[in-house]
Symmetry: C2
Subunit: 305 residues, 2 copies
């Protein structure tokens, strides 16, 4: 047990914030955890579950005296929350966030950060398709990456403490440049999500195939898509609106590539298809070797434990 | 233990055939299991693992005296295998297959089926991203669907026995029309696979994002794609070449829909995105209720057990 911050304030009480609370407690990383959320329901549930020491009704009360403030709200409201809490932040405190896009968050939040407060954007690469205060659990960040995005003016001591907190919650920490982050995530997360959403939408739309058939014969491929496409709609809407440029760039590449494969099917270019599918298999092996997944077959059941 | 067939011959010794052997043994559904494969390596491994009672070097020896013959080879070679075994099939025997597309298999196989042999196409909706004789396991078909595709001339008794076999291996059996099968599977399996292959290929191709970054920051979305895209290249090449029409139709719908979402991102149509993502969430709930998946979060680790 090693206390890194006296008081931590979690703004937003969804999957990430509630998991942070559980993980902070598991390792005794904070003296006290305060939390708040816009929704009265979420605050009530958080009080009932007791993963925060105190759940406040206002943002000002939550951040009062906090050594670390974590913005765990949809990307689209980060700016307005920062505007509201700015005047109440303790000098010397660290302000971070957990948003899935970073350039837009930096632009929305940075103007409201007072002198003497350390703003260090962050993004834990962890999640499930569930959301809300009941969905959190202490193990969410174990062996997952947390990307921190300091700049040249970031104070090393403040950065070091925040790294220690994430490591204490089980994560591996990496630093990255803000714009590069948004491109990497467009490739590895944002576009795959949009594509999964699209395919699930198409399936629902084919009138000759009934919804119940789609559901019933949801073999491996499609079922994994629906899992992805079940993620929080507000969060994902904000991701796409706020990582517009990189998402559109990667989608352009994707459709170009998809058209090439479509053409290979139409022209029955067996060799192109075989070579392509062989190449993608290699990438999968790299992921297993990097320890981000296991080689265990999923039995066509998509991840139940 | 209820023996349904005296001798079963498995042609091809990959994931599906080896799993069938394990599942048939588990429930004692056959007096004897014979198997063969084109690759000498696969035959050697099958002998070593011992999941067949006899592994033969030739197709003729494998099907000799068999009451049930199962074609578990890539869709592209079903016709030539049927041509070769046709003269050796026992009168009254049942011939089935496990191919992922059905119209092309029926067209390739039916002409070689002698009078008095019951040809009943089949498709078990089960699999993992692994392939080969070492990848099989007895539980693969448990609670999965197996679609059988009889026509008006199929003998009810022969169909009944084949259904019993699949149920004995743990599967739930449904009947479907051949062309409708190919459309349903294009939606639920073939197109999702092609899309996953494409996205994995794009990721590999973005030069500003290194392969190691893609691998390292392979958050939920992309990792699920790589799992899908790691499936057997030969099998999938044949699927697309042999379910060309339905695949291209669904891909056309998919790109149309993707362009609409792309446009919504470009024009920042927040409402359209939110509504779309909310609708896809509902479909996911349907799949959980239909029992084809569980609501358990996958912890962002994509299905390790």
């Amino acid at each position: 047990m090693k206390e890194i911050y006296g008081r931590v304030a979690l703004i937003g009480l969804g999957l990430i914030a509630s998991s942070m609370a559980h993980a902070i407690r598991r390792a005794g990383l904070a003296g006290e955890i305060a939390g708040t959320a816009k929704s009265e329901d979420s605050r009530e549930i958080a009080r009932e579950l007791g993963f925060c020491d105190i759940v406040t009704d206002t943002l000002a009360d939550a951040v009062d005296g906090a050594d670390l403030v974590v913005l765990a709200v949809p990307v689209g409201v980060m700016g307005s929350v920062a505007f509201e809490i700015g005047p109440h932040l303790k000098p010397g405190a660290t302000l971070t966030d957990v948003g899935s896009v970073k350039r837009a968050v930096v632009e929305a939040v940075a103007p409201h950060v007072p002198e003497g407060v350390h703003f260090i954007p962050g993004h834990p690469l962890a999640g499930t398709e569930h959301s809300g205060p009941r969905s959190g659990f202490a193990e969410l960040f174990d062996n997952r990456w947390c990307i921190l995005l300091p700049d040249s003016r970031t104070e090393p001591a403040a950065l070091g403490r925040l790294k220690e907190l994430w490591r204490g919650m089980g994560a591996d920490v990496e630093e990255m440049d803000v714009d590069h982050h948004d491109l990497v995530l467009a490739v590895t997360s944002h576009c795959p999500h949009l594509i999964a959403y699209t395919m699930v939408g198409v399936a629902d739309d084919i009138r000759r195939v009934t919804d119940s058939e789609v559901v019933k014969y949801s073999a491996a491929g499609f079922r994994d898509f629906t899992r992805i496409a079940a993620s929080d709609p507000t969060m994902w809407r904000d991701v796409f609106l706020n990582n517009k440029q990189a998402t559109l760039e990667i989608l352009g590449r994707f459709t170009e590539e998809l058209f090439a494969l479509q053409r290979a099917i139409r022209t029955e270019d067996a060799e192109l298809l075989f070579d392509y599918f062989t190449r993608t298999r290699t990438i999968r092996r790299g992921i297993i070797e990097a320890g981000q997944d296991t080689a265990a077959p999923d039995f066509g059941r998509g991840g139940a434990r």
